[in-house]
Subunit: 376 residues, 2 copies
Amino acid sequence: MTPRGFAPDEIRARATAAQDLMARARIDALLLTTEPEIRYFTGFLTRFWESPTRPWFVVLPQGGDPIAVIPSIGAELMARAGVNDIRTWPSPRPGDDGTTLLAATLNAHGPRIGLPMGDETHLRMPLAQFDALRGLCPALDFTHDAGITRTLRMVKSDAEIAKIATACAIADRAFARVPDIAAPGVPLATVFRDFQALCLAEGADTVPYLAGAAGQGGYDDVISPATDAPLMPGDVLMLDTGLTFDGYFCDFDRNFALGDTGLDADHDRLVAAVEAGRAAAMPGARASDVHAAMRAAEAPAPGAAVRLGHGLGMQLTEWPSLSPFDQTVLQAGMVLTLEPCVATEAGRILVLEENIVLTETGNRALSTPATRMVRL
Amino acid sequence: MTPRGFAPDEIRARATAAQDLMARARIDALLLTTEPEIRYFTGFLTRFWESPTRPWFVVLPQGGDPIAVIPSIGAELMARAGVNDIRTWPSPRPGDDGTTLLAATLNAHGPRIGLPMGDETHLRMPLAQFDALRGLCPALDFTHDAGITRTLRMVKSDAEIAKIATACAIADRAFARVPDIAAPGVPLATVFRDFQALCLAEGADTVPYLAGAAGQGGYDDVISPATDAPLMPGDVLMLDTGLTFDGYFCDFDRNFALGDTGLDADHDRLVAAVEAGRAAAMPGARASDVHAAMRAAEAPAPGAAVRLGHGLGMQLTEWPSLSPFDQTVLQAGMVLTLEPCVATEAGRILVLEENIVLTETGNRALSTPATRMVRL
């Protein structure tokens, strides 16, 4: 049974590692506003982020422990997470929804405040509030966090990897039961609904993501919601899930054949591309190398496939990108998806996705690699 | 059967209504970046937003149709949603992840660009990208959207109300089946997992939110994830769900009694507070009036209950707030949660939440109002 939560030492070590990098980048404090950033440095896990109403802040000073500047509704849970310095206000409070409290905290720890502001980040607070905050902190320099949150979060600890592995195992078991819920005549929307229930039955805490498609000779895109169109003989059915265990995602898909799809050779190319990706994915290689290896194996690939996989963890998609432009040097502990895509004879696409973790010597599969399409 | 999607006329009418307000506020174009903002003006519905990797933009000019400036992976679905002007780039693309394309679009429609930047909003793009965008648009004035998106989204159409009502009916049916899954000895985490499956079985598309708690004499907070602690005789069990139908949420809770909780009188006070809220919730009243009516009925209430309900729709929580500070004048078509909270003798809390829609003459219940705690 994978334990829930993290040892207090691990949460503390993340802060210490960040502080080392902050010292080198001459950053006096980090300002964090999003769910994964705040959870990473505190262990604070709640689905309450689904409500966009209230802003939440954590300040990590160069010396000392993280400071939570949060709505009072979260104080109890943040304290249980192990944070000692919790400053609250009764939110929502228009006009000053934590702004003065945050300004006072930052002013005591400046002047250089690092914010995650690079690719795949955003600032989770109203823009007008950020402007007001800067007005209250005229002596502070709000600057780039020098990629510190990205650098740290990209390399997962053993405890994090165990949670992702557990999520993958749950999805493996749910995919194995798809023959129970999908057959010709069943509407795709019903398959989506029932598959999410299978994920829960197999142990998922939540199912934040499910995409998929069904069609003859492949499908057209992989982001559409399901329609009530029934599955047809000869269809390929693809389901791509991001379920969570203790706040960590898996992200992989499976293709199922409703009888004879004529796509077995295409699927074989996808399996070969995944194998080529795995052969290339080792410490010291670059993210772009893994992309190139898969790209070579999957030909002819559709032109739009600029990204054939990505990081995975507290979010469904994280850095790095397996893309020609991403020169990130891979390290043990990075968790990646390998997601090759082929164009079919029908002018459609077929996508396969697997999850792996990099080890000291290569990598280890987290999803049980698919070798062929299961027949329904 | 509630129809999915919206008539093209309705989506167009939203843009026209925004353009009327833009003319009055002398805004030349709106820049929208978040899921609900973009969906509201285009009908673009996908769970792909779970991935934080790519920025998405919609520009609504003062004259003409919405312009989607989006990653190419979304072009197919955006076209099916009915948007004609779609401009794409192969995202992710570090260094220019749509920035120049967006800048060119905005520069053609400026100079005054309105952004949602008030309470309960955020800018869903990297801060560094926003800085780069402003650098590419020196002649533009990025300004407050004058609350236009808030004003429009607060009042729901009949088609939107039907979707929320459907979500509520699904949750009603799922709550009715809680006796099948909860009993003394069952771990709370198992109840959470099984209740989400019940929501799906009853017709939910997704279950983005489930919170809850169980305890003797009430509970301490309503945002914690479930633990493996088993339910005990005498516990009150509370489940609060935000499930969706076609992209629209319900948000209400139910309290269940595992035998004798000693909390029947507290629950009666909550029911009375909901009734007081419903009596006050009518067109022309203010959000603060509804708060005051519930507050008077629920005494003694915990000090922290600054908000006793809120708007509901494409997000789990939306404007207005049923709070002393919110002077929003209520109108027919607004969908609200009524969420009184009482302090119990044990020093804990008990919360009840219902969903209503304002009509021309008062309001109509969307969740079937609870009258007592169901015994498990």
